[in-house]
Symmetry: none
Subunit: 284 residues, 2 copies
DNA sequence: ATTAATTTGTAATTTTACTACATTTGTAGT
DNA sequence: ACTACAAATGTAGTAAAATTACAAATTAAT
């Protein structure tokens, strides 16, 4: 759905004379528009109230109050916090907030880039896998590490190596029915692409969590592409990692749901076991 | 200015009985709330209209229509309600969105819980450390892994062990000037608390990334407390992990800034080296 | 220039939100 | 356990806002 504020400017030519008046008043100061009643806005525009109402309907809203709601939303969206890069004069308060905010913004972008049908397909493959491997290098290696942690709880055979040679050997031994997931933001790490080729040559199902249209993506049977606005050539990998982890959460959740109720009970029992290794809240 | 939706959840304790009813109805489906009149919302909440109106005023809005405006804006900002738990009937689209949304929301909560002065102090300690160790168990182990990855690039002596025994031994050998960072959402993992005790007994500077007022927090010289609305006793650790990682990003950033310009040039050179191990974008 | 179509405005109606006041519920002190 | 006071909630009436139906005015077309 299109932003109302944009729609007003783009549809300007289709408006009638009085409607244009209204449009101009709103565009001149949208912030004040959302706090005016239909009467005051009509007066400001030198038109009658029903004209304002018709103007709202022309923009596919139910009426004036509904229009204000949409307008408020476009205004809120108009101030996004996407590219708030830290600069060298930032104090702790500034850089802390900037990093948190840009991480959240990147997650939102990543979320919108996800192909849901592909998520579903990958979950399918995971539930049927004989063995699941997670491989990544550099910053993505800890993502793979995390994925293993998660899937290990599900009591499925799961494999992870930090070392590129071990990854290579592991893939050489893979067979049909094995699923290998490669994680890389850039999708351009040579050695990882090599390993993916090996896995594929050995009939493993190769899945990539990476950016679209990259060398790694080309080697995969299925690609879960993540679009994260981050240039890891210039900056430390931050948001890309977080987005990957969240996607892992999504896969793990899909996996749990697919396995059904009895499976979730098993999980609960595992949790109960873990609990005994903890200090309970009461005897603090 | 605070997001209304968050304010509702955070002020929940200050609401009266009937106001809580209203709050719950709104939180259950904020999207539908902005399309209801005060009368229908009152009926849905089983309270009278003036109660709804009073509820709006308590949230520092001028009245019901103004409240709806604010609500619409919070929804547009993509910071939706925290506790959108996945249920077993959710399809891939639902659980994907729920997980991303609640992750973003948790990050926002975490951000607000951070003690900036403490961040600054910890960054200070890190820049002066002879050696930095990161330890975590379970889900937090991959966070420690990630932290090591980051700080390794800074060319500082950095240590990480996944194995609890190795962690123990490492801490037994620590000396004054060493900084040991323990990562744990619950702060109640017995063996990790033990290791923290050992580290402290050996004059290491012990820092915790954990929830406030936990056994682990008590063992630390400094605590970077993170408040994440997640019950890891019942659910898989998701948002807690992400918040920890983001905090690591903050620390790493603070570290870089503190080290100054010459240091950042070194980093750039390291990046250039890494680049040669990648496929460049052109010869796709 | 006349008529039909479109646009705009007026006035009445309906919906919505708000206020003042009454009732209920809860609480603290005797 | 009762009274008195305070807080919370609801009722009913009022004010405001938005929408509708219709009439007047403008515009375009023959």
């Amino acid at each position: 759905m299109m932003n109302v504020l944009e729609k007003i400017s783009s549809d300007m030519s289709e408006f009638s004379k009085s409607e244009k008046k209204v449009a101009e008043v709103i565009l001149a100061n949208p912030q004040s528009a959302i706090h005016s009643s239909i009467a005051t806005l009509a007066k400001l525009s030198n038109v009658s109230e029903p004209t304002v109402n018709r103007f709202c309907r022309r923009l596919d809203t139910k009426g004036y109050p509904d229009f204000k709601l949409h307008l408020a939303q476009s205004l809120a969206n108009g101030t996004p916090y996407v590219n708030r890069h830290v600069d060298e004069f930032d104090g702790p308060a500034e850089y802390t907030n900037k990093i948190f905010e840009s991480t959240m913004a990147s997650l939102e972008v990543a979320r919108q880039s996800i192909d849901i049908a592909m998520v579903n397909r990958v979950v399918d493959l995971l539930t049927q896998a004989k063995k699941i491997s997670f491989f990544g290098l550099g910053a993505s290696s800890s993502v793979a590490h995390d994925a293993v942690n998660k899937f290990f709880r599900f009591n499925v055979p799961v494999v992870y190596f930090e070392d590129i040679l071990m990854q290579r050997m592991s893939c050489m031994n893979s067979t049909e029915g094995d699923v290998v997931i490669f994680i890389s933001h850039t999708g351009r790490t040579k050695s990882l692409v090599d390993v993916a080729q090996i896995a594929r040559a050995n009939d493993a199902m190769v899945i990539g969590i990476t950016s679209a249209d990259t060398p790694l993506a080309k080697e995969c049977n299925y690609v879960l592409s993540l679009e994260v606005p981050e240039d890891t050539d210039l900056y430390m990998p931050m948001a890309s990692r977080i987005a990957q982890l969240t996607l892992i959460d999504v896969l793990a959740t899909g996996f749990t749901l697919r396995r059904g109720n009895k499976f979730r009970e098993n999980l609960k029992r595992l949790k109960d076991t873990l609990r005994s290794s903890r200090y309970v809240k009461d005897n603090l």
